[in-house]
């Protein structure tokens, strides 16, 4: 059946429910809720969450916003914690300690801090060992939970509280890490990059594939942060669309090593369109800083071209 947003929202339960305390205009709960909707309603899920905005806003004792089983242990170990839950499932299922007719799916959520940085080792281990799980990085491009500190996912020149745009150093000087590519290097069956755009089709379908592909799967999902990025809360979906249309955040998937770009903008917009509405890039638009925008554009273009090349090469 073709994807129908109305049908999904009306007929599939929201397993990440209302009552959580994430900010208005935050991208994380929007993608989290849609990803969870991609589960078959009859399947049980064990959700692991790294410490971060999502965890501290959705499970404040004694309340939880999750209708599935949920575990949080610490910041850097969502990959390993989820590994353990999945290993127990395998062993217990094998021994007949769990009902044979009921499936449980394993999913881990981590922000970019808990995934690109402090949790990278744990994630790498879990992916390499091939646990049957989905790891979702909701990437908001900085340590937002502790107050907007730079991470290795922070884009170049962004103003953060530990890479402030100062008189001598104009923001974060290094380009961001390409995590999806690192995951592709693990030779796992499914890697995808996506975001919440238009009718959520790309996000939903990739989540569904990730859940129902046997083995380790990784989703890198852009999750804008109004406080850290400096955009009006109502503009979340606009920012997402601009990220895709400028090719700042290309939408693609890698299935068994084959790249497929799932969204090629009819007209690739200049990167200023994405940068201008965000306060964290404000200094780039000051007179004399045109070189920063040029450099940023070059980086985006090179990465986009590389992706086009990879798509061609891996499908030859």
């Amino acid at each position: 059946m073709a994807y129908d947003l109305k049908d999904v929202v009306a007929n599939k339960p929201s397993r990440f429910t209302e009552g959580h305390r994430m900010c208005a205009g935050c991208g994380a709960p929007v993608v989290g809720r849609m990803i969870m909707r991609a589960l078959k309603p009859e399947d049980h899920a064990v959700v692991t969450n790294a410490t971060g905005c999502m965890e501290v806003s959705t499970f404040i004792y004694p309340y939880t916003a999750w209708t599935d089983s949920f575990i949080h242990t610490a910041f850097e170990c969502a990959g390993a914690t989820a590994s353990g839950t999945e290993a127990a499932y395998k062993a217990m299922k094998r021994q007949g300690k769990l009902p044979a007719d009921k499936d449980t799916k394993f999913i881990a959520f981590g922000g970019d801090g808990g995934t690109y940085d402090i949790g990278l080792q744990s994630l790498s281990g879990a992916m390499e060992r091939g646990h049957d799980m989905v790891y979702v990085c909701y990437d908001n491009g900085a340590y937002m939970n502790t107050g907007i500190q730079r991470s290795s996912a922070t884009p170049q020149f962004a103003d953060t509280t530990t890479s402030p745009a100062g008189k001598v150093i104009p923001g974060k000087m290094q380009p961001r890490k390409d995590l999806a590519k690192i995951m592709v290097g693990h030779h796992i069956p499914y890697v995808a990059q996506t975001l919440a755009m238009t009718n959520f089709k790309d996000l939903y379908e990739k989540s569904e594939k990730a859940f129902y592909t046997e083995g380790a799967a990784f989703l890198n999902v852009l999750a804008p942060c109004p406080r850290g990025w400096g955009y009006p809360t109502e503009d979340l979906m606009k920012i997402n669309k601009l990220a895709a249309d400028t090719c700042y955040w290309p939408l693609y998937e890698v299935v068994d090593g084959k790249y497929k770009i799932t969204y090629k903008p009819a007209k690739k917009l200049p990167i200023e369109e994405f940068l201008r509405p965000q306060k964290r890039f404000r200094h780039m638009f000051k007179e004399g800083n045109e070189w920063m925008i040029e450099e940023f554009q070059k980086e985006v273009d090179a990465r986009w071209q590389e992706l086009l090349d990879l798509e061609e090469i891996t499908n030859r």
């Binding site: 590994s83 127990a88 021994q95 281990g125």
Partner: protein, 396 residues
């Protein structure tokens, strides 16, 4: 019927784990505990167990995966030493706070730095207040026996705390000794089937584990952990009594060796107790009324019972195989002296830090401790309670 064997402490531990047949073992190699996951992965590879073995990429992940597995509803185990435990440290506290009955073999080794792979107790002492039950083992038999009892203690409804079974790296982990093993069926019966009350994999009752626990709740939750630790004393007593009924091998909170009529005594843990017993026997023949109190259950700490057991002595030496570097004394010394004070018992006490980084501890050295005690007993005065044993002179 017991089976007579010759095994190292690591082999004995691995065999206990095989007989327990846990759902998940997640471990990372580190000397001197490496052999435990090594032997165990052979059992997995040969289909001798039903366990899922997770060969994690670090000890932090070993404990994280063990926590995940235990919260999921499985019986989960791991093994480590020294720096491995240091890397786990964050997760050690999380394991106990989530009230997960994980069992870990800790093969004691000096914590870096500088790097040293040999035995002392600095690894265990670093987590002594982390909410784990800690059992110490004099030899491979005790390491095996403590392991067989560990799940019964950890999983008891009044406890639900993780258990650490300690033994001395190389000294017992790699030395082959005679041992009595129990047969698989009897072990299975004694350990019993694990039936978790609430667990992640129960689709009929989804649960959330590991919340943000703020000012209104954390204090009470910590107090519940403390209550469980107090309750563990009774459970350990009961399980040890059942174990004795089954195997004939008796375990208590601590072992008293020729203590009841002793005038001077050493308090220590793990393999040094074996050497001390030989010295006690020797001194008894020479007319010195020497004795030993070997602590088996270090956490919960049997403060009242130890104070009572030491109260009749004229002088006591507490041996710490880890220096607390606090200008006051070792951890075991401070625990024992506070136990005495709070229970209003006064006996002159002296602390010896010994065996650091695997420094050999000889019968002669232990005899010198007893002779110091005889002198202290006469003058009833300790001028320097914080001493070293076996340290080369002029280099400290």
């Amino acid at each position: 019927m017991s089976i007579r064997e010759r095994l190292s402490g690591n082999e004995a531990t691995a065999i206990a784990m095989k007989q327990i047949n846990p759902d998940v073992v997640a471990a990372f190699p580190i000397t001197p505990s490496t052999e435990i996951p090594q032997y165990f992965s052979t059992f997995v590879a040969n289909g001798d167990v039903d366990t899922e073995f997770v060969a994690v990429e670090s000890e932090h992940s070993a404990m994280s995966a063990t926590i995940g597995a235990s919260a999921a509803g499985g019986r989960a185990m791991t093994a480590t030493s020294a720096n491995g435990l240091s890397l786990m440290w964050e997760m050690i506290y999380i394991a106990s706070s989530l009230r997960l009955p994980i069992v870990m073999a800790l093969v004691n080794r000096a914590v870096s730095g500088p790097l040293n792979i040999h035995n002392d107790h600095s690894d265990a002492m670093g987590v002594r207040d982390a909410g784990w039950i800690m059992l110490f083992s004099e030899n491979n038999q005790e390491a095996y026996d403590n392991m067989l009892m560990a799940h019964r203690i950890a999983e008891h409804k009044d406890v639900l705390l993780p258990v650490m079974v300690c033994q001395d790296g190389f000294i017992t982990s790699h030395s082959i000794e005679n041992i009595e093993l129990e047969n698989d069926e009897d072990v299975k019966k004694f350990v019993g089937e694990y039936k978790p009350q609430h667990y992640l994999l129960n689709a009929d009752e989804p649960i959330a584990v590991g919340p943000l626990d703020l000012q209104g709740y954390l204090f009470e939750h910590k107090a519940q952990q403390a209550d469980a630790m107090r309750a563990a004393k009774n459970v350990i007593k009961e399980v040890s009594a059942d174990f004795e009924k089954w195997t004939g091998r008796k375990y208590d909170f601590f072992e008293e060796y020729k203590l009841s009529d002793a005038e001077v005594a050493i308090v220590c843990m793990n393999s040094t107790a074996g050497t001390t017993k030989a010295v006690v026997d020797d001194l008894r023949e020479k007319g010195v009324k020497a004795g030993l109190l070997k602590v088996r259950m270090y956490r919960p700490f049997p403060a009242e019972e130890i104070a009572e057991a030491l109260s009749h002595l004229k002088a006591v030496a507490v041996l710490d195989k880890s220096d607390s570097l606090n200008a006051a004394g070792g951890a075991l010394f401070e625990d024992v002296t506070s136990a005495m004070y709070v229970n209003e018992r006064y006996v002159p006490m002296v602390n010896y830090v010994y065996g650091i980084g695997g420094r050999d501890t000889t019968e002669k050295q232990l005899e010198s401790v007893f002779l110091d005690l005889v002198e202290i007993a006469q003058v009833q005065n300790v001028d320097n309670p914080y001493r070293y044993l076996g340290l080369r002179k002029g280099e400290n």
